[in-house]
Amino acid sequence: MNPIAVEICDTCGRAQLTGGYACRSCGGTALCSKPVAGDCVVTAVTKVDRSPIESPVGTVPFYLAMVTLDATPEVRVMAVCAEAVEIGQPMTVTSSDGLAPYRLEALSCKRDT
């Protein structure tokens, strides 16, 4: 499974998506990149019926969701899925190069929680 790239702040330990120059929480500038597993929980979802550009999972309709990563729950990722998903649903988010597009996939095995 391809991991998601995040940055961890050396000062406060919080994680965020890549691309910043400082920690959005404490302003610390020592950030180290770290790949984390894509296990996640859906916190918001919309079925998109109108979009200016084609999504990586095809034309509309498709599903756009916000998820929080299990490994770093402070990180929220926007991801797409061809199939309907629900808030609270455990999923896996994947990326080909650590950046968007992020795709949501069903978990391959049952979780403990």
């Binding site: 965020q16 998506l17 890549t18 691309g19 959005r24 916190t43 918001a44 979802v45 919309t46 079925k47 998109v48 019926d49 109108r50 979009s51 200016p52 550009i53 084609e54 999504s55 990586p56 498709f62 756009l64 969701a65 916000m66 929220r76 990722v77 926007m78 991801a79 797409v80 808030i87 950046l99 968007a100 597009p101 992020y102």
Partner: protein
């Protein structure tokens, strides 16, 4: 003591499809009327703030406008804070006046957003609001981003799609009674529910339109003009994030912070407000901002709307009485500034008719996806 600043002139054009007018034309029409209303001459304007226009991008929008409009201000700035730009410019004008950097600041917005570009171009521009690394490649746009915020909010509060629709109906009811509004045919909750799906739970009538239009105000260090001046009693801002992926868990926290700051500066409480104008790019925007600013209880906006609390006539807290972005129209920066122009008109009307309504109003706008927030408190009886 902090120096005071007053709204001495305010004007807006009709909104809708206005072919034949450039963005500069619409800016100039609104500015001319605002200037006339203020009783000031062009030579009195020593500060100029001009909002961005997507159909007329320019390196120096304020200087460009000054040249065309015959102004030679001491300070002139182009401003870009998304949907919050209109109120941000008024807050900044107040700061310039209070700092002694200008005596009279002309605030200008206008754009032929509907006629000056294709629909595809509009949606492409909006899609670029997303994070280029983490969001845009997913293939969605601003309506979908607000739909995500709606999904989370509705899951948490139990608010329904019909509740959201109530606000679209309210805005349309107000627009029906407003000359110059883009949409003046009454609608029902059923109409909203049956309108074309955009991104669940948002349907076409939950979303603002794309309009041509202009709006302008004059902010002065002293009351000016023949009409009653309204004092800018409080301003507050908060800029928490740009993109949804970096938003705090409480995505509307910026509204709480900005509102609290504006109220603190004004010395008034939210419960004292006699009128309100809240940014309504989508029904969910209006609902979440009303509640974050403390104008409705969490999850209680729809019940307030159904009870008539926000009604233009007879409501205890009339809201977006011109019809808001949802029905008066949304022409970019002037869409947000129109809320203030409408508020000025209604507060002057209250004063002229010796209304018993408290001469205090609260305004709030957000830019991006609940990213940038600006709150204002206006005080009549100055």
């Amino acid at each position: 003591m902090t120096a005071s600043a007053y709204i001495s002139g305010a004007a807006m054009t009709a909104f809708g499809k206005l072919p034949g007018f450039s963005s500069l034309d619409l800016q100039a029409r609104a500015a001319e009327e605002a200037l006339q209303e203020s009783g000031l001459a062009r030579g009195d304007i020593d500060g100029l703030l001009v909002g961005y226009a997507t159909t007329a991008p320019h390196l120096m929008p304020a200087t460009r406008f000054a040249e065309a409009f015959g102004l030679r201000p001491s300070c002139a700035y182009g401003i870009s804070v998304g949907g919050a730009t209109g109120l941000a410019m008024v807050a900044l004008a107040r700061h310039l006046v209070a700092a002694g950097a200008a005596r009279n600041v002309l605030v200008v917005a206008g754009e032929n957003r509907r006629s000056g570009q294709s629909g595809a171009s509009v949606t492409r521009t909006l899609s670029e609001v997303g994070d280029p690394l983490h969001e845009v490649p997913n293939g969605a746009s601003v309506p979908a981003y607000y739909a995500l915020a709606a999904s989370e909010y509705m899951h948490r509060t139990g608010v329904s799609e019909e509740d959201l629709a109530e606000l679209a109906v309210l805005m349309r009811r107000h627009a029906v009674a407003t000359e110059g509004a883009q949409f003046r045919d009454p609608i029902t909750v059923d109409d909203v529910m049956a309108s074309r799906p955009i991104a669940t739970p948002l349907k076409l009538l939950d979303c603002c339109s794309v309009s041509d239009g202009g709006a302008s105000v004059v902010v002065s260090g002293a009351p000016s003009g023949s009409r009653t001046a309204l004092r800018i009693a409080g301003t507050g801002e908060s800029h928490r994030h740009q993109h949804m992926s970096s938003a705090p868990q409480d995505i509307a926290e910026g509204a709480r912070i900005a509102a609290a700051a504006a109220l603190r500066m004004s010395g008034h409480s939210i419960d004292q407000m006699g009128r309100a104008a809240i940014y309504d790019s989508f029904t969910i925007t209006l609902m979440m901002l009303l509640e974050a600013c403390g104008l409705s209880e969490p999850g209680g906006t729809a019940a307030d709307a159904r009870a008539g609390r926000f009604d233009r006539d007879g409501g205890t807290l009339p809201l977006n009485t011109h019809g808001g972005l949802l029905s008066y129209g949304h022409s970019g920066v002037s869409g947000g500034l129109a809320h203030l122009v409408e508020m000025v008109r209604r507060m002057r009307e209250d004063e002229a008719s010796a209304s018993s309504r408290t001469p205090l109003s609260f305004l709030h706008a957000d830019g991006g996806v609940f990213s940038s927030h600006v709150s204002l408190v206006l005080e009549g009886g100055a």
